[in-house]
């Protein structure tokens, strides 16, 4: 059985995609050297389209040159998964954790990320479920409410999940989301009749679901952490 397990949560507010990517690369390296504990970044991005390792840019339906005019950026990444959109009012979690230490493989890890979003949805009376085979993510009926794209390097995770609280769904019309045609994208706002609390509360609930599902018994919160992450030595 594992001993006490600590998760350090960084509440970051709005972060530019590339800044978050650079920070994750540094944290993955630190985690690999055991300089930091398992870390979870909680944030939102300005309007950003991203592609995974397979570079499926045929799923971007407008010319890249037009993206600026709709106020969005495009980035290529090393994560798994197809094209997706990130934007305001979408809760993002990037766990930087050691899968080897908890003996999890990619499949179980991703299932737990799905469960995190399913549990959060249920807090608002929304019956979400994991996708069919080959359609990783979280669905309410035929509508996708949460997306996953992960990278695992030397057993350390980066990238993670994106849960639609109330993003502008029009942005999704410019892509074939996750490469799956004929399926809609939805949000918590659309699916629940419950009055939503502030987004900060929803982010915290999402983090709590994550921490519980992954068996962390200590959660340390870091408000307004610096992007340049000059860490003090952690024992």
């Amino acid at each position: 059985m594992r001993g006490p397990v600590k998760l350090e949560v960084w509440k970051m507010g709005f972060v530019n995609y590339l800044d978050a990517l650079k920070l994750q690369e540094k944290l993955v390296s630190d985690r690999k050297l055991c300089r930091i504990p398992d870390t979870l970044l909680s944030l939102q991005h300005p309007p950003t389209y991203t592609l995974g390792k397979r570079r499926t840019d045929h799923n971007l339906l407008i010319p890249a040159s037009e993206l600026k005019s709709i106020g969005a950026e495009l980035h290529y990444t090393q994560r798994g998964g197809d094209i997706t959109f990130h934007g305001p009012h979408q809760a993002i979690l990037y766990p930087i954790i050691s899968l080897r230490e908890i003996g999890l493989g990619a499949r179980n890890y991703v299932e737990k990320l799905e469960s995190t979003m399913i549990e959060l949805s249920s807090l608002y009376g929304v019956k979400a479920c994991a996708g069919q085979k080959g359609e990783t993510g979280v669905w309410v009926g035929e509508r996708k409410i949460g997306a996953i794209g992960v990278r695992i390097s030397h057993g350390i995770t980066s990238h993670g999940l994106a849960f639609n609280i109330d993003p502008d769904l029009k942005y999704f019309k410019h892509i074939v989301p996750c490469g799956i045609t004929d399926k809609e994208v939805t949000s918590l706002r659309r699916e629940t009749s419950t009055v939503l609390p502030t987004e900060e509360v929803i982010h915290e609930q999402l983090i709590s679901c994550f921490a519980r599902l992954f068996g962390y018994n200590t959660v340390v919160w870091k408000e307004n952490p610096s992007l340049s992450s000059d860490h003090e030595e952690i024992e």
């Binding site: 390792k53 994560r79 798994g80 080897r100 990619a106 991703v110 080959g134 695992i152 390097s153």
Partner: protein
């Protein structure tokens, strides 16, 4: 699961080696193993590399394999490529150092070979080793089986 046992038994009699069954994951006797779940089959200085049955089972259905260029250098413990499954890209590390002499092009059309035949048709690269001494850093089949057992009991 019964079909996996049957496959393993058939593979064992074809390859004429004894198979250690570890739950549902197969471990082959004359291979060497890295703690990142890659296997290597050594023939003189020629090495064939892939990922283990345990690894493919924990990854899920592989939909994409990123292969290195022929001629690329690999180093023991360093990443040389990646596989994608369930929207996760996982680095694949080389158990030995040397030069890539062949890559399994079939995987570009049929990445699922990694799942269905991890030790045979799902091989990933062939390397000309430059330091056979490194093999002592790897596990044999018994050590690897135990390693997998310990890892799986962590959660």
């Amino acid at each position: 699961m019964a079909s996996k046992m049957l496959w393993a038994t058939r593979a064992a009699s074809y390859l004429r080696i004894s198979v250690v069954h570890r739950g549902f994951s197969t471990v082959l006797k004359d291979l060497k193993y890295a703690d990142s779940h890659e296997w290597v089959k050594v023939n003189g200085t020629a090495a064939t590399i892939g990922i283990t049955d345990h690894a493919q089972d924990h990854l899920g259905d592989v939909v994409y394999v990123e292969l290195p260029e022929v001629g690329a250098s690999v180093k023991q413990g360093d990443s040389f490529g990646a596989v994608e499954s369930v929207k996760a890209t996982s680095d694949v590390n080389s158990p030995v150092s040397g030069k890539v002499v062949e890559v399994n092009e079939e995987l570009s059309n049929s990445p699922a070979l990694v799942n269905s035949s991890p030790y045979k048709d799902g091989w990933i690269i062939k390397v000309e080793m430059n330091d056979s001494g490194e093999l002592k850093n790897l596990m044999d089949s018994e050590e690897y089986s135990k390693f997998c057992e310990e890892e799986d009991s962590k959660h």
